[in-house]
């Protein structure tokens, strides 16, 4: 039922050595910078797939975490508090300090690839790296990566623990929300014309909504296991479409700012929306039939099937999942039509007379609070 869109977790980056660039005044600061570089290298090796550590050693290094995704999240969570300490220095007020910090950040060469541009899907010459000399770019891309990996982790535990899966999706939504509201707005004025979509606040808003849609989809799975009524299931599925419609709306504005953004993201949202709309209308139809309105039920199913058949995903696994849902709904429609022809002889209302779907959103994001070590740093050249 759930389509898979793995790209947000596929960022790559280049090596950075903080202590070679930032001039330390004391050993504490130097040690901090070295540790920062070391923790970042752990992330670099992991996401660039240059890791030569065996699974057993990786598990031991991360304190017993089995999952590769969990290990990556652990590394990022270790890195972020150290990085957060440097962010206030990026907001230097004096001109002299700004010049100095700009020089340092330029020397750092903060470079990240994008997983959401059109070229990243064709992979002609390997990933293209964007260099933006701003620490918030480093923070933003790291958080974006963290959200992406959390999504993968949520999908990983989906089959075993629905509650944990939904919770992780909500955490990811919180991180993307934090990015969109607190981190990226400060970065956007300083972005060059050529920039990755991940650096835009609007894209993080889209990802936050996608995570909420996915969390609600997981909740629906639990509801279906519990035997929840058709009418409520219909509202929950339409709630998912509400999240996705909002995200699609934002995407249309992003395209004007960032022409390189891949249509794959748009297609993912569109097809997910269609699937949940189909499922929601199917539950609505079953609810109507139970109330003795089989004509309206047939109208609802016919209408939504005509709509979702207009466009089909081009390749598996999306295509087979999509066609399976259409096939299931078509079978239900066939049974309803057969029964109406045989027993009820109810008139099928026109498309304008059909009951409108009603959506209910029941999931919210879990707010993300950045952690920061309380440590006083001292740099040469800063007043």
């Amino acid at each position: 039922m759930m389509l898979h869109f793995v790209q947000p977790s596929k960022l790559k980056t280049k090596k950075m050595v903080f202590e070679d660039v930032y001039a330390s005044c004391d050993s504490t600061t130097l040690e901090h910078l070295k540790e920062l570089s070391s923790k970042r290298k752990a992330i670099e090796d992991s996401i660039n797939e240059c890791n030569f550590v065996t699974e057993a050693i990786a598990k031991e290094m991360s304190g017993g975490l089995e999952s590769r995704f969990e290990q990556d999240i652990h590394k990022i969570e270790n890195y972020l508090p150290f990085l957060e300490i440097l962010i206030p220095y990026a907001d230097a007020t004096s001109t002299i300090n700004q010049i100095q910090i700009s020089q340092w950040n330029a020397a750092l060469k903060i470079r990240w690839s994008s997983a959401l541009t059109t070229s990243s899907f064709f992979k002609i010459k390997g990933p293209k790296f964007f260099q933006i000399n701003n620490l918030r770019f480093e923070l933003g891309m790291t958080l974006f990566l963290c959200g992406g990996i959390l999504r993968e982790r949520a999908l990983e535990v989906l089959s075993t623990d629905l509650v944990q899966s939904a919770t992780i999706f909500r955490q990811a939504a919180g991180i993307y929300h934090h990015l969109a509201q607190e981190v990226l707005p400060h970065l956007e004025p300083e972005l060059p014309p050529e920039k990755p979509p991940e650096a835009l606040a609007a894209v993080s808003s889209i990802m936050s909504l996608i995570c909420l849609a996915e969390a609600q989809a997981v909740t629906i799975r639990k509801a279906e296991e519990k035997g929840t009524s058709s009418s409520l299931l219909a509202k929950l599925h339409h709630g998912v479409t509400l999240f996705l419609e909002e995200a699609i709306g934002i995407f249309h504005t992003v395209v004007t700012q960032c022409k390189d953004i891949s249509s794959r993201l748009s297609e993912f949202m569109y097809f997910c929306k269609c699937l949940h709309e189909l499922k929601g209308q199917q539950y609505l139809a079953e609810s109507l039939k139970a109330c003795g309105q089989i004509g309206a039920a047939i109208g609802v199913l016919s209408s939504v099937l005509n709509k979702v058949k207009k466009k089909i995903p081009g390749e598996d696994p999306w295509k087979s999942i999509y066609q399976k849902q259409i096939q299931d709904a078509s079978e239900v429609l066939r049974k309803f039509v057969h029964e109406n022809d045989f027993v009820w002889h109810e008139k099928i209302p026109s498309i304008y007379e059909l009951p409108l779907p009603e959506g209910t959103k029941i999931v919210t994001f879990i707010p993300y609070s950045p952690k920061r070590w309380e440590r006083q740093l001292s740099f040469k050249g800063l007043v």
Partner: protein, 218 residues
């Protein structure tokens, strides 16, 4: 030689699928019958209303429609009966097929033993097989009996049974105690009327939603 005598058995998958389809149609017929019964009841009610209103002609029209619906119901009943017959036949055919399979197994075993026996034993075996064949024919004849029985119910006996049912119902009604007159309404002083509104109950759907949210830690 023996294969040609008995033929190949039907595939079980086809029989199962056919039985499912027959069951499905049976369900449809039962639903349709319920719908028609509701219509009959509605016409009876309308006839009563017209009778109270001294509109005899309209009441008769309602009764005519009632008769038409009842005819449809009777036809549906016959349809259901035929489907039941066919389902029983199919299940019986399966039993027959299994019997034939068993006989074929026995015949194969006898054929194998034939190599180690003389002509007298062969003659004896053929007699036994003929006897089994006769038994099978009798079984098939017995399985065919329900058709005749179902198609030839004794109407007089059915009517007599119906009269018995009606008599029993009438007797039961006569034993019911007479309905007492309703008690006179008691006036409640206006000053003692409860002023607090009854708290609104949550709908079942809202309860479901709350339970789901609690379970998912939302």
């Amino acid at each position: 030689m023996f294969s040609r005598m008995f033929g190949k058995p039907k595939q079980e998958t086809n029989a199962v699928a056919t039985l499912d389809k027959l069951n499905e149609t049976l369900e449809m017929l039962e639903k349709k019958e319920k719908v028609l019964l509701k219509k009959v009841a509605a016409e009876v009610e309308k006839a009563k209303e017209f009778t109270r209103g001294k509109n005899k002609r309209a009441a008769i029209q309602c009764l005519k429609r009632k008769r038409l619906y009842e005819q449809q119901i009777e036809q549906l009943g016959n349809f259901q009966l035929r489907i039941h017959d066919q389902m029983i036949l199919l299940e019986g055919a399966k039993a027959t097929t299994e019997t034939v399979d068993a006989l074929r197994t026995g015949a194969a075993a006898m054929k194998a033993m034939q190599k180690a026996t003389n002509i007298d034993d062969v003659d004896k075996t053929m007699d036994e097989i003929n006897e089994q064949t006769e038994n099978m024919k009798q079984i098939q004849d017995a399985l065919s009996a329900p058709i005749g029985a179902a198609a030839d119910f004794d109407e007089d006996e059915l009517e007599a049974e119906l009269e018995e049912l009606e008599g029993a119902e009438l007797e039961e009604q006569l034993l019911q105690p007479a309905t007492t007159a309703p008690a006179a309404p008691v006036q409640v002083p206006a000053g003692r009327q409860p002023t607090r509104p009854v708290p609104a109950k949550r709908t079942p759907e809202e309860d479901e939603l709350a339970a789901l949210q609690a379970e998912m830690a939302l």
